[in-house]
């Protein structure tokens, strides 16, 4: 295995979980998610500019994964695939107790999903999220408020 292949494998292992779970939350099925993950890594390899540090690299992967998924969802033939039945794939291998939260997260509107992920999972501040997504901080705060309202509605007031 060449040095570049080793380097790529390290990078793959570092980010695969993050990219996969983010893509799955958008696409809700395994096949599309795997396609999206591959596309994200191919885009990374085709990029001419290298990223300056790990934080930038991570942010790039998050934003690119979200954009790739949104692009895939825009394709009309995929929209028909987005039925709730697809959630069953996850339920098969998960505990029923945590399934409710999972369903709530996945049912978030797409525009809130990345913001919720960055804020609640990765622990970024709203200002940092604004920089990553190139949106005003006030918009990010609004998205978070709406997302919380949405989650509370589904989970019955507990978050």
């Amino acid at each position: 295995m060449s040095f570049l292949e080793k380097e790529f494998e390290t990078l793959y292992n570092q980010y695969i979980d993050m990219i996969y779970r983010l893509c799955f939350s958008f696409l809700k099925n395994r096949e599309d998610t795997e396609d999206a993950v591959q596309t994200v890594f191919v885009k990374y390899l085709k990029k001419k500019k290298r990223l300056v540090n790990e934080n930038h690299e991570k942010a790039w992967f998050i934003v690119t994964a979200s954009n790739v998924c949104k692009d895939m969802l825009r394709q009309s033939w995929r929209k028909h695939d987005r039925s709730m039945e697809r959630y069953d794939e996850i339920a098969v291998r998960k505990d029923a107790a945590d399934h409710e939260m999972e369903m709530a997260v996945m049912s978030l509107p797409d525009k809130y999903k990345t913001v919720v992920y960055l804020y609640y999972y990765e622990g970024y501040q709203t200002k940092e999220i604004a920089e990553i997504l190139h949106k005003p901080a006030s918009t990010i705060r609004n998205y978070l408020t709406e997302a919380r309202r949405h989650l509370k509605k589904i989970l019955g007031g507990t978050l």
Partner: protein, 197 residues
Amino acid sequence: MRNEKIVTAWNRLNPDRNTKERIFQNLRDRLETNNAKNIPQRTFPRFAIGLLALFVVLVGSFGTAYAASATFRDYVHTLFFPRYTPEEIVSIGNGHMTGSFDEIDVLRSFLDKWNRLEFGNSVTAKENGNHYSLFMQNKDQLQAFVDSNDDGYCIVVYIERSEYEGTEGIWQVTGYQIVENEDAEIMKNQLEPYTDE
């Protein structure tokens, strides 16, 4: 601000080991296929073979025709070593001689040169050749009698017109002589005053 419930929910979406390996393998295959597509073809392109065959056919045909046909050989030689008819050679010669399509221009140029280069030693054309009279032997042969600074002599200039393709003819100086004024008058009597019509 991390939320444990959300973190747990999202962590449950993580891929299992098999999925990770499958994606990695698919990704490697995809990249290898892409790289293979980018490798330039090492086989000799078909169009080059076609061009080469055409070249061979053309060279063969040319060689056969050159060897078999004297007319073709002559034609090829004419392309590389142009041959001219005698008329064409005269025409080319005329084109390279000094001359003009205006007889007065030819005379004035000659007289200017006469004075500058002192063709007649001490006999020079008066006022740069402004004083002259033209007579003709026929419409293509003129004699100009030019006053000189030496009162006893005048300069006689012989001018002839040659045919030149596509024009009314080209005038050229063909000779000159210095004669005494009395002899000049005798010569004039044998000629007709020139009119350009």
